[in-house]
Symmetry: C2
Subunit: 498 residues, 2 copies
């Protein structure tokens, strides 16, 4: 099935909106009437909503899942094109990500992952293009460069953050770390600038922007340190946990397991293509009003609407001031992720940075397509933002500028296909994965996590651990389903007692 989401460009067909995905659900609804009162309505069918809906339905609740899109997965989904899965959003997983890996094992998918990196083939170098010039180096030297830079960046306490953030699921466990959240990545770089070589600085800044999708000024230093702590306080840990292991058949094969298991309980109703407009907390239930005016009722609601989208939903009674303030601030991640299929077969083992003058700044060889082409995945963000679909020649140039022809006998890369999702223009995402500006977390993490009457707010954006990751989404969906299930049980017990 083809989703409305995503774009694909080829020389032959030009730009097409909408790409195929296993995540598209058809028929889009299994609801007969709107009359019923559900135990819980789950808004959003990303990993958080899928987890909440699955757990609640497995544990006996009558669940309604509403989703604005035509597909499951939210900010993580894959499109299989020409027998090859392109990851449109969240991609990588690792056994150190508790909530994700618990599900990978539960679904017996532990053999269904493969490494993005294969440093055994053809051009086995890292390419670094900056205002200072263009250099290539081995991947070992690439690791050493970033390792050195990250050690300087993160060493706030003499032990690389282990004292400042000892227990990363309790972000501000050490109150001294709150000050780190007042700092931006730029502030921290300014502090250590004299210790960084130009190459270290370029690699470091690019890597930070790869994580945050913002600018150095809008990137919370604390949140970067939180990622670092979650990854075991090492560059190698970040590589392993953030950007190595992906599903061989694509993310949507994983998301499908959650959805299909929930459907199999026969307690899940769902409606896709159903954006919601209003959530009204009544005395005895909560009412969900869709954009087309349909109404649904449930004893509880779980909203998995991301922070940057929450302002598009109206709440009765209105949300409390703290949550409203967090929504006004929003998160800063405007990552641009562009897949390019290039005919240069030798580039499977290539990685590169072009920074800061290009719209895309970081890229890696990510696979070989059935056609024998090299698949590279490129990242840009708010630092030098573009909408890839609006000007394809410009997007092509941003991709080809990742490669300096000097290193390839004067040849530039030959782009056979581009695949991407414009997350910034996506009304249900308004950005990529959550990344906070300074002070948002210290001031409003608890506000973002707080419930509002019968509505529980769950999203990876405010998870405790792998916040911003698939893992955080599953963490939050698990929390929300458990909270709601216990309340529904209490309601049933009350009624039985009356």
């Amino acid at each position: 099935m083809t989703s409305r989401d995503g774009y694909c460009w080829t020389p032959k067909d030009g730009l097409k909106a909408g790409v195929p995905s296993l995540g598209v659900v058809t028929p889009a609804s299994n609801i007969c009437s709107s009359e019923a009162t559900y135990d819980v309505v789950v808004i959003g069918a990303g990993y958080c909503g899928l987890t909440a809906a699955r757990n609640a339905s497995l544990e006996g609740l009558k669940v309604l899942l509403l989703e604005g899109r035509d597909r499951i997965g939210g900010r993580s989904w894959s499109s299989n094109i020409g027998g090859y899965p392109f990851e449109m959003g969240g991609t990588w997983v690792h056994w150190g990500q508790a909530n994700t890996w618990r599900e990978v094992l539960r679904y017996r998918m532990e053999k269904d992952i493969e490494s993005s990196f294969d440093f055994s083939k053809g051009v086995k170098h890292f390419e670094l293009n900056t205002h200072q010039g263009s250099a290539t180096m081995s991947h070992e030297d690439e690791d050493a460069l970033l390792d050195s830079a990250l050690k300087k960046f993160t060493n706030v306490d003499g032990v690389y953050g282990r004292v400042m953030i000892p227990l990363p699921h309790d972000t501000f466990h050490n109150p001294g770390s709150i000050a780190l959240d007042s700092q931006s990545a730029q502030n921290r770089i300014d502090d250590i600038a004299s210790t960084l070589s130009p190459q270290e600085r370029a690699a470091l800044e690019t890597f930070i922007l790869l994580c945050s999708g913002g600018t150095l000024e809008t990137t919370s230093f604390h949140e970067f340190m939180h990622w670092w702590a979650m990854s075991g306080y090492t560059n190698q840990g970040m590589m392993d946990l953030l950007i190595t292991w992906k599903f061989r058949e694509g993310q949507s094969t994983f998301a499908r397991r959650f959805f299909d298991e929930a459907v199999a309980t026969k307690r899940l109703s769902y409606s896709f293509n159903t954006p919601i407009e209003r959530i009204k907390d009544n005395v005895s239930d909560v009412e969900i009003i869709t954009r087309t005016g349909r109404k649904f009722r449930a004893l509880r609601a779980i909203s998995t609407v991301p922070l940057n989208v929450l302002s598009s939903v109206s709440f009765e009674p209105p949300l409390p001031a703290g949550k409203q303030a967090a929504i006004r601030i929003g998160h800063v991640n405007q990552t641009v992720k562009v897949h390019a299929e290039i005919s240069n077969k030798d580039l499977r083992s290539w990685t590169g940075i072009t920074y800061p003058y290009n719209e895309l700044c970081y890229a890696i060889g990510d696979g070989t397509t059935p056609a024998g082409n090299t698949h590279i995945v490129c990242f840009g963000g708010q630092n030098k933002h573009m909408d890839p679909e609006t000007d394809i020649p410009r997007t092509q140039k941003a991709v080809s500028s990742m490669f300096n022809p000097d290193h390839y006998d004067g040849k530039s890369v030959d782009i056979q296909r581009l695949v991407f999702h414009n997350w910034s223009k996506d009304e249900f995402a308004k950005g990529a994965w959550f990344f906070p500006p300074p002070e948002l977390l210290a001031k409003h993490l608890d506000d973002m996590r707080a419930r509002h009457g019968k509505v529980v707010f769950a999203n990876s954006d405010w998870a405790l651990g792998w916040r911003s990751f698939i893992d955080g989404a599953i963490e939050e969906g698990t929390r929300a389903a458990l909270e709601v299930r216990k309340e529904i049980e209490d309601l049933r017990t009350e009624r039985a007692t009356l």
Copy 2:
């Protein structure tokens, strides 16, 4: 409540069998009659059985949990004595352990953990006592010593095992790694012996024995590499993941959450003090016969009996040859874990090795008791085995031999209390956590995991990831409950269709 398990010795009261624990369940049974046919009977109330029983009951099955002991937790439980929790078995957890941490987050216990290590107080050194003499060094030097030794030990492929075991949940993913399972730790040490300093070798051998509880000859080199891979291929990762974070109030507070949640479903029946003798697979159900001749029936059984105990249960029809072979081989871990409360307040930040001539070889300062004494936890194993309860003066000597009086102004330590569980003499454990001898896994991992008719075998002993850990127990309990729940659903559907 006081469990029959465990021992406590004090100068005043001498040796007492049985220590208090939150894990003791009272009344020990909530079964009215044996007439009912359950959906599933779960044998064993360790973390694996607790997880299976909880998940199955949450998802609507009628569950019977049978346990030979008077308490939950199996090989992981804590005893609170004098307001201080002593960990009798499995202790440490980490957010990199997927199944465990998913539950820690789900039960909102992420703030309920603390570090065993506190290197800020008094005697801040590591003490190494060997046949070559006695030395002290800083904890930084201790880390560097083991780090250097482990790098030599694990570097089988030039990248510290990353090529040999790239995907640790698929242990033999690289077929080349099967050869590692033919090697013992002793074989590998022989290969690299010329590169190790005497201190490196002593630290390395002690650490390997701390992991396996066997001898160097009976320790599979592959399984050690598996632990190493699970820990991120670094010494620091092993320290973080294996031996750092524990529950502030003790393991049994965690196990209780599973049990209490299962009880709250009202679908869990249970009977403690109920060892089983026989499992009989009939045409339409499975029959469990206890040691006292009580019979229970269920559609399916989940046996969480550990490998070393399986020979005490008879099966009809008999178990297949592969599983029987694995049971005959068994695992090799005969760890002796002894807690000592010592009046020397300055030793909180102390760590030590005394090897190979002492019954205990590795110890750390693990806390300060409410009485102001230092709590140290000591480990020994098959290498030089003792039963701590049979000869208390000898046990005291083994503890005090961890300290060389030369380093403490000629003073020896003053032992105020000993607490321990003799896992080797425990009929329901017959050893500590699973550790395989060479070839057991390569030949029989699949056999151990295989079901037998209506009986699903689940135990951390044959988990894919954190095999031998609490995490592996939860992994296996999750797998078993899901498998059984799907089958029961299918049976119901079949019956409804007839």
